[in-house]
């Protein structure tokens, strides 16, 4: 992608950025790239395999990335929403990052797959995407892309689960969460999980047991979902990172739907719009309260 490479080369040569964070060709498909010299700018690529949410590298608790200098990050729309989250939560100041938006036509489910978008290969995150041309940007590169293939598979699956009894849902989730090894890949892959000390690592007192039995796992996943409510951008990286295949997107997407229903809120790439949890309205819904 010549436009992107030229821009990266220029930013680095002019000293505007210390590192350009984008994608390159890896041994098993596309993968994040950290370009620190103008010559390496030619490594940068962008295609439907560029699944990774690069906003994750803007987490202030990553000294090894900070050490590379002022970042210029290539962001798809969903990634830009995550950057907005970081800005909203004061984890980043706008002038400390350069955002290179890229026009996106959807991504495939994993970076190893061929870059062919079909209903079967498109990532669930692309459903209903409203940021194919990201707005939170300093530069915008790439040609306009066609709409991604539509698949409402995730919402359908959620509807199926909603139609079950709590007991049946319990069976489903105990089966899934029993696999959890508490590696916390879901947390590490998530740009919005940026706490200096995650609550699950705290021991004085310990609210969430660190053991990977179901009791600890339920506490962890309930907490992570709750803490992400209204903040999750739906990038699906947590599910992709999970080494044991827990369908985390179901939980996070469910809460996106809940937050939409209760507070008429959809996550946005405008950092000025406040997140729903932490705010309130005097006439918020309360049918569940006696």
């Amino acid at each position: 992608m010549k436009e992107l490479r030229d821009l990266a080369r220029k930013l680095l040569a002019d000293g505007d950025a210390g590192v350009v964070i984008g994608w390159e060709e890896g041994r098993r498909g596309a993968r994040p790239a950290f370009i620190t010299t103008p010559d390496d700018a030619d490594k940068l690529i962008f295609d439907a395999r560029c699944v990774h949410n690069l906003a994750n590298y803007l987490n202030p608790r990553k000294p090894q990335v900070k050490a590379l200098g002022k970042p210029a990050v290539v962001v798809k729309g969903c990634d830009a929403k995550a950057v907005a989250g970081l800005l909203r939560e004061a984890q980043l100041t706008r002038d400390r990052v350069i955002l290179i938006g890229v026009r996106c036509g959807g991504v495939v489910q994993t970076p190893e797959m061929p870059a062919e978008l079909t209903e079967a290969t498109v990532a669930t995150r692309c459903y209903g995407c409203d940021v194919r041309e990201p707005k939170l940007v300093d530069h915008l590169v790439g040609d306009a892309q066609p709409e991604p293939p539509v698949t409402a598979a995730l919402d359908r699956r959620i509807a199926e689960l909603d139609a079950l009894s709590p007991q049946e849902r319990w069976q489903f989730w105990t089966g899934q969460l029993a696999k959890c090894t508490r590696c916390h890949a879901c947390r590490q892959a998530c740009p919005l999980c940026h706490c200096e000390r995650c609550i699950t690592d705290k021991t004085q007192p310990q609210w969430i047991e660190s053991s990977s039995h179901l009791r600890g796992n339920f506490a962890w996943h309930l907490t992570r979902a709750q803490h992400l409510a209204g903040r999750c951008v739906g990038c699906g990286e947590c599910e992709r990172a999970c080494p044991v295949g827990i369908p985390l997107s179901l939980i996070n997407r469910k809460l996106q739907l809940v937050v939409k229903d209760l507070f008429d809120y959809t996550v946005t790439d405008d950092p000025e719009v406040p997140a729903p949890i932490g705010a309130y309205a005097v006439d918020d819904r309360q049918e569940f309260i006696e």
Partner: protein, 389 residues
Amino acid sequence: MSAAPDKRPTPKGKGTKGAAPAAAAGAAATAVAGAALCLTEENLGKLVAEIVAGGTRLVAPAREPQAGVGGSADYRYISSAAELAFGDSLPRMSLKGFFLPQSEVLFKWHRKGADVEIEAVPTEFPPQIVLGARPCDTAALEIVDQVMDWGLRDELWFGRRDATTIFNLSCPVEDASCFCHAVGLNPDATRAADGMLTPVPGGYLVETCTEKGAALIEGHKALFESGDTGAAAQRSKAAAQYRADARAKVAADLQIDTTRIKEWVGDHFDDDFWTALGPRCNGCAACASVCPTCHCFDIVDEPEGVGHGARRRNWDTCQTGVFTLHASGHNPRADQNSRFRQRVNHKFFIYPSRFGEVLCTGCGRCSRVCPEGQDLAEVLACIDELARA
């Protein structure tokens, strides 16, 4: 036909009872001569049924039982042949969890007035059988045996090891991320295995490696056929071809010298190589979860109510920030560069220095599962090249 010798020199230190007997370095031929039998697909099903009916727990690659959630095979306890997924991909997780469970009770305590009563867990386990283990997963067990018997013998680990009979499935090689060959193993290695199944037309060539393996066959001998010499010869030929093809395939993936790598890693602790490699890693530890040889654990005391609770050990990983966080707040590995370096360091320098072999069986899972595209084979190839320069 005997299983081809494992390339890996036998380790210093003790193995377990019933494991492949340690032979002279470099020549660990382990099959029992003349014990080549055949197990048809149909009889494999019957074998599963007989084992399960006999009350012995059976582990095998199987598909996830819940509908609509991916299709990966995993090692699971199975109760019927219908669950078997021999021909599928490499199981997502290794066999490690059956010997070092991801969360395990070490003892329970009960407070009685001013006293505390400790209830220890048993260290003897009911017998269990693993059918269709990949050689990289099985060999890993013997590599980890060394640290589990280092200074203090881990009775829970060895209790499970002793109780388990493992039959490998000769591996067709998953993909280009496999590199068992490069770390001294092979897709048909029998290290730590009690027997081996090699796919041949119509079923599997069966060989035993240990007395335990022979005992399993003996217990179900009606299901195993030797057939006439013609058929046997044909099977041998097919099996040999299968194995040779697999070996050639994996040998092409990575050519390195682990001794050279060990020296380089030991001498280049502060090299820029790590600062170039580390930023991509997000510290997710998915690699450690799926790794057959990663074995670090954390110990916690968990109250379960008033006056009683359990001490547990849980899988832990050097990839997290808190792994080396001191109570003072100091952290000797305060960034991901040093933590990623540690993983490579432990596996390819520290463990070989202490135990004589790398802490890796080349299964490639870490590369497959890494969400950010870190590739261990690539890392090793780079280091090997730097070491040669």
